[in-house]
């Protein structure tokens, strides 16, 4: 508990979490408002469309989470931390827990905020949270943000440099995964198992809302796991990265 309190103090005595929160909310809720405002009979508003900006929120949360670690390396406060708490595993787990929880909180506010603003703008649309799918599509965003933040903390711990860690995260999640599909023959099969695509499946899958054109909602996932197994897969990926990064932090000189 002490360590969680320490990491919370550290996180909130800097500005970046506040800016990230603001940016994530503006982007996600802003897109929901845009989608609702421009919806018409040919493209009616639905639940998937309220979460159109969710992927951009993931980006902001990952940047925030990576910075939470890399700025500690940049200003050497990670060394001060390891002097105060020589158990590096405990210190890094506490940091991960605090940062990921903040990520989940941002996700929850962003998702329900998006849903709320869409409900206000287009009251006639069917946006009821009345099915497992509907709840996953909105509340599930928080869980995806949580594990995205874990991944970003792990990558930040491993790479240590802000620019390097953020580039790696963004290039992988935003470019590499989709580009894999271009590999002839096997590309699509590999893509089905790539973590961010699988995470999408948790939020958008079953029933697949892709009856709508992709530009009106988060791109449908091609993963074939069931939604909750998709989340477990994504969580497992995050956990493996976290373990590897903590092992490396224990081995390397601080």
């Amino acid at each position: 508990m002490t360590l969680l309190a320490v990491e919370r103090l550290k996180l909130f005595t800097t500005r970046s979490p506040w800016w990230s929160m603001l940016a994530a909310l503006v982007v996600t809720i802003g897109f929901a408002a845009l989608m609702a405002g421009t919806s018409d009979d040919t493209a009616p508003m639905d639940l998937a469309a309220t979460q159109f900006g969710y992927n951009f929120g993931v980006v902001v949360v990952m940047v925030m989470a990576a910075l939470a670690v890399t700025t500690e390396y940049r200003f050497s406060t990670i060394r001060a931390t390891f002097l105060a708490v020589p158990n590096r595993t405990a210190a890094l787990l506490a940091k991960t827990a605090v940062v990921a929880t903040l990520g989940a909180l941002i996700g929850a506010v962003a998702a329900f905020g998006s849903w709320g603003i869409a409900t206000l703008i287009t009251p006639e649309a069917d946006l009821a949270l009345d099915s497992p799918y509907a709840w996953r599509a909105v509340a599930g965003v928080a869980l995806v943000y949580f594990f995205s933040a874990v991944i970003a903390v792990a990558v930040g711990t491993f790479i240590r440099h802000s620019a390097g860690a953020i580039s790696a995260l963004l290039i992988y999640s935003q470019l590499v995964e989709s580009l894999v599909q271009l590999i002839p023959n096997v590309g699509d099969d590999i893509y089905k198992w790539l973590p961010f695509n699988v995470a999408n499946n948790f939020v958008t899958g079953d029933p697949d809302p892709s009856a709508r054109p992709v530009e009106f909602g988060p791109p449908p996932s091609t993963a074939e796991l069931s939604p909750w197994w998709s989340l477990a897969y994504f969580a497992g990926f995050a956990l493996v990265l976290l373990i590897l990064s903590i092992v490396s932090a224990n081995k390397r000189d601080a």
């Binding site: 309190a5 005595t13 500005r15 500690e72 002097l83 020589p86 000189d253």
Partner: protein, 313 residues
Amino acid sequence: MIEARGLSKRYGKTLAVDNLSFSVTPGRVTGFLGPNGAGKSTTMRMILGLDTPTGGSALIGGKPYADLKHPLRTVGALLDAKWVHPNRSARGHLRWLARSNQLPAKRVDEVLDLVGLSGVANKRAGGFSLGMSQRLGIAGALLGDPQVLLFDEPVNGLDPEGILWIRKFMHRLADEGRTVFVSSHLLSEMALTAQDLIVIGRGRLIAHSSTEEFVAAATENTVRVRSPQLAVLRGALGRTGVSLRDEGDSLVVSGMESADIGELAAANGVVLHELSPQRGSLEEAFMQLTGDSVEYHTDLDAPAAADLIAAGK
């Protein structure tokens, strides 16, 4: 009490710290002296568990750093004053440190007061001058009221007032019975601050003694003599077996007190124009001792540089 036993650290091909063994005792300020790149910081980081030694071990009060419960209550360290997030306030920085070792929040205000930073406690640390940053770093080291203190080059870049403040502070801490271990590359500074010295060069132990002994052993005392009858004097001195060196129109005698030289001159009827004892400088002594162990040589080799300095005096 700090103890290093056969401490070694290898980076690739270079051996930064080479089988270093020493102990630092409580109640005294112990200087850790060596040229830049001698391995002082690396040694301190190994003592503090930040770097893993390639060989040997370092113990604080008989335990490795990682085994200390609430380490800030046992050991206070200032390795670099800039280890602070620039957007965090001085108080914010100390608050999380205090919390991590379950120290009461009021201790933060106590140490801020102790180092004279109460007035700027809520200002962002990024705007602090070097002197203020050093004070904040010292405040952090003192948070847990530790018995063992390590400071890495604490006076580097400080103005004379700041240097004096830190020097007095170290003495106070040692007088309270604490173990104070402070590194520097300046012998002149250490001669004023430290009671004991551990001298290293290229990662190896060169000397481990009291500062007085070290300075006395290291500085060579000579006497400069000028006389119109230098040849006669040289002959008389030569028969006593002391070592002589010609320097223009004067002789530099080592191994004989000025009084004895004067009497010898009088006995031989030699007129003296100058008879002046020369004290070797600390820098000279330091360079003679560590000359072979400076990692990055300039074009001048160390003895030649020492001569140049001597000639300039």
